[in-house]
Symmetry: C2
Subunit: 212 residues, 2 copies
């Protein structure tokens, strides 16, 4: 397997965690997002979506972090990153999507750049935007985690799932932008549990060979 990754991409971070949890080794190919390497024609020829991460396996190219994790779950089912029961699976996916659809897209590099470069917003306004969506999204996540009986040592139960693979990179991002997460104590408690595991530690940005 070849993983197209960038140390700071939180979507790539999700997939690095999932691969580590499943004990799958991969060859890393570095795509420097801040330098726009994903927009090079060679990369577009490989991945029409021109985004990171992408994973090659079995002669195919897989894109979108959540689709890649679903693929890994179907192809390499053990250890499982989704529970067995249908409502549990739906909850885990919903938590993962809450991060992937409601928080992350508003705060990724190209959205922030558009605010500054096209809409002429200041660094202060950009940071306010960032912190607003983190605060709002983490409040929704916390409301679910704090209340649902399914929450355990991790987001759902006592083993890591794709929800944890999404939560951890999001918390890393929030911390990088100095966001106050004191309104999300359960999420932070789960984050700390995850970071006790080598699979999460090894996947973090500072441990990647392309870190700057």
């Amino acid at each position: 397997m070849k993983l197209y990754t960038y140390f700071r991409s939180s979507a790539a971070f999700r997939v690095r965690i999932a691969l580590n949890l499943k004990g799958l080794s991969y060859e890393a190919q570095y795509v420097h997002l801040a330098r726009g390497e994903h927009r090079r024609p060679e990369y577009g020829a490989l991945n029409p979506q021109a985004l990171v991460p992408a994973l090659t396996d079995d002669g195919g190219l897989l894109t979108q972090s959540l689709a890649i994790m679903e693929y890994l779950e179907e192809k390499y089912p053990s250890p499982a990153l989704l529970p067995e029961d249908l409502l549990g699976r739906a909850r885990v996916r919903s938590l993962a999507l809450l991060v992937a659809c409601e928080i992350h897209p508003l705060n990724n590099l190209r959205a922030l750049r558009y605010l500054v470069n096209e809409l002429g917003r200041s660094e202060e306004e950009k940071n306010k935007w960032y912190q607003h969506w983190i605060h709002d999204g983490m409040a929704k996540l916390e409301a679910d985690l704090a209340r649902a009986p399914g929450t355990g040592r991790f987001c759902h139960g006592d083993t890591p799932t794709v929800a944890d693979c999404c939560l951890v990179p999001q918390v890393f991002n929030a911390q990088r932008f100095n966001c106050d997460l004191s309104h999300a104590p359960t999420a932070l408690r789960v984050f700390d549990e995850c970071m006790k595991l080598d699979a999460f530690q090894r996947a973090q940005p500072s441990r990647q060979p392309d870190v700057e």
Copy 2:
């Protein structure tokens, strides 16, 4: 099944299509997003994420449109909205996520309101922002659809999948904001195919009892 829906929510629109394609009937509960009904405490008590859609089934509450569609696929597998082969499933999910993570979140109601109310942007700038993300995201979608051998009558193959359930509401939104989609002819061709089907027609905003 009870579906918490709003006629203009494109995430709810996705689920309405999926339910129709699977021939599942549901009782609609209307949550008026523009009036902020999703932020009422009663709704938050039911759905901690305080978003639409949500679906009740089997004693559980399901949230996030893509998680709901995965649940429907697992619980009511026929007709299938995902192909059988792993790479095909991954492609369909990736196309769905491209819409759900890269286009829609930047353009939903609360993001647009923040631009206007908090960042003081004009209607013109708001529309430029909207059109930018539609243009960018639809270009990525088109690049995939136009090139991949898996594209058929629909986004993947000759039967509708969850990718089509996401594509159609996104095209509706784009049209509502007068976005030029001439750079996405394959996506528009697939959209037209979808709209020949009753399941898509019946799910569209103008056909909902809560339309305004």
